[in-house]
Amino acid sequence: MQENLHRFFRAARGAGVHVSPAESIDAMRAVASIGLSDRTVLRDSLLLTLAKSEDEKKALGACFDLFFAHVDPAQPEAKDDEAPQDAASSEAQTAQPSDQPVQDEANAELGPLAQMLLAQNTADISAAIANASSAVGLSEIRYFTQRGLFSSRMLETMGIQRLRDDLDALNDRNPAQAERLQAALDGLRDTVRDAVAQALALYGREETENLRHEILRNAQLSRIEPRQVAEMRALIRQIARRLRERYSKPRKRQRRGHLDVRRTLRRNAAWGSVPFLTAWKRRHRDRPKIVALCDVSGSVARVSDFFLLLIHSLHDVVSDVRSFAFSGHLIEVSEILEQKSAEEAMAEIMHKVGFGSSDYGSSLVDFEKQFMAAVTPQTTVIVLGDARSNKLDPRADILKAIAERAKRVVWLNPEGRMTWGWGDSEMPRYQTFCNVVRPCATAQQLERAVSDIVSAYQ
């Protein structure tokens, strides 16, 4: 039982449920107290002790069904009772049709696997597969590329070499039986392959997914294939959720243990300043204020989607965000981002200002004319864009004015450092007025950049 439960824990981890040692001990204790007789109760108890959210419950429930579809929890005892009967009955079955004692004698020369296959004893075969899978450590399987390796290893453990020899020998002596054996062998191959596929589904899911996410996180945002866009969006949303969890806590915190002497004395003046009522010091923190300028022109069209998505999530994390989008001119998009879902908001913004050729100069002029008041000494200004202004006047002087008013100016550029200053890129000129300049081409870099910005206020 313990062995099975341990394997189940590993399968659960594969399904993305975090099973810590402490939780597995709890589960063991729970199972010990409720027993294995009732399947639904067992399922409920494992869900109660291992899964810690609704999503995890769903994943674990599916995992339970898959895992115990083959392995009956009470298998060890049950099998011992049944196996001999099964063998006996199947012997009886095979004995009848084959009716020649000569052939049985011939079979005796064959290896155990060949005998098993010819006898068509399913109980023994599945037991042999189970043994082989634990012998080769099938639960260690992680990636789908390992399927072939594990299948062939399992077949080897089961004695396929001997079987091939037998097959060769039989081909000469008894072609009919050789054919039967060949068919049975093909069947066995399929069964083993299925067993490996199931094991991969159980144990390998998380690793495969992690690997895929890892690759995606480090992929260039501008070079993502269309079919990956949906996944990438999910990833960005995950990043946004993480940021929100980390930084959206209330920023008001009492400084416990520091007496505010002045307020205490004033409050207790009525009792001759005997301090019946105490007042404690509080610490105030800067509230994050962010002004985000996002380039949505044609040259960064493939990346601006993700930028907007991230700004959308910033609105959830930080209460005071004003966001602007520009290509040829600049408009404020705070309301759109705040009130609509990410998809709707992105579509509307792209419709309003998107896909034009960028003109950083006139966009900055727009900003200076209408929104300069939004920049205060507590503000962090984030500019997301490639600084390619189509050879038009970059108006770096406006950025300078902004930098003088703001707490910080952060420029996130989707292009690598190599290309800054090449062609129509005005990055070197803008760079002098920015506190932080970062290339921001992958999801991971994007996350780090935003995390740094928000944590500066913590």
Partner: protein, 319 residues
Amino acid sequence: MAASPAPSSAIAAIAAVEAGLAAQGYIASRQIATAVYLSQAIDKPILVEGPAGVGKTELAKAIAAWRGLKMIRLQCYEGLDEAKALYEWKYAKQLLYTQILKDKLGEVLGGAQTLHAALSQLHDFGDVFFSKEFVEPRPLLQALLEPEGCVLLIDEIDKSDAEFESLLLEILSDFQVTIPELGSIAAASPPTVILTSNSERNLGDALKRRCLHLHIGFPEQRLEERIVESRVPGISQTLRRQLVAFIHDIRSLDLKKQPSVSETIDWARVLVLLQAAELGHDLVKDTLNVLLKYESDIEVALPQVTTFVAKAQRQNIFG
């Protein structure tokens, strides 16, 4: 692993939990009963999550009533800290005592010749002002001090700050608290702890790890009928069926706030008060505000009322 009762008796015990809670008017699903049984068997708190009004708080009350234990409730809110949840020094009392005892101080220290002698005499009195007499136990400490054990309900834990969670960890895993001046105070008998959460924010892993995690969703139709039956005894079977079927249809709509079990019960009470024998179109329209709490939700639901009522009536014929 500790010696365990025979599994079959565990199944019986789960059934007993179900029956016991039912006797208190709480119709528990098998999953809930299993959780309650397990929390006792392996001494773990239960963390109950689910939408508002599905009976998370009721569960704690029902357990307390069933076992005949006292229930201590700690309502969480933003800014809740240890002084309000765990214990507090009776500061005013301490101060009052020092003021009164000021005069005695001269007598006590009268014999001392030097400052040093006076100090050592003072030390002999020990920390009288930080003794148990001056501790004001708040709900968490109260629960531990209860000699017969109790049901401790920590309600809406997701409303409290993340710091408060860490404060709970010691109580949840070891059933004890540490007061620096007094040392650790362990529970006389471990309380049954129920935490509830509306998933307003994600709880920390450390907290979740120490609990059994129970998710209560909206009940199935049968179960909800049984719940209504037990809570609103005067209701006829026909009306009960129609009402529950109607609510299940309403839940399939895209609403801001889905009607939950508590609303079902309220509505059933209203209908009984109005002496309705059957669900009717006008009746539903007039009382829909009991079920739906937002104007926009009522607007969404109103056009569907006729269809749903007809469907519920049909269901009654075949079901």
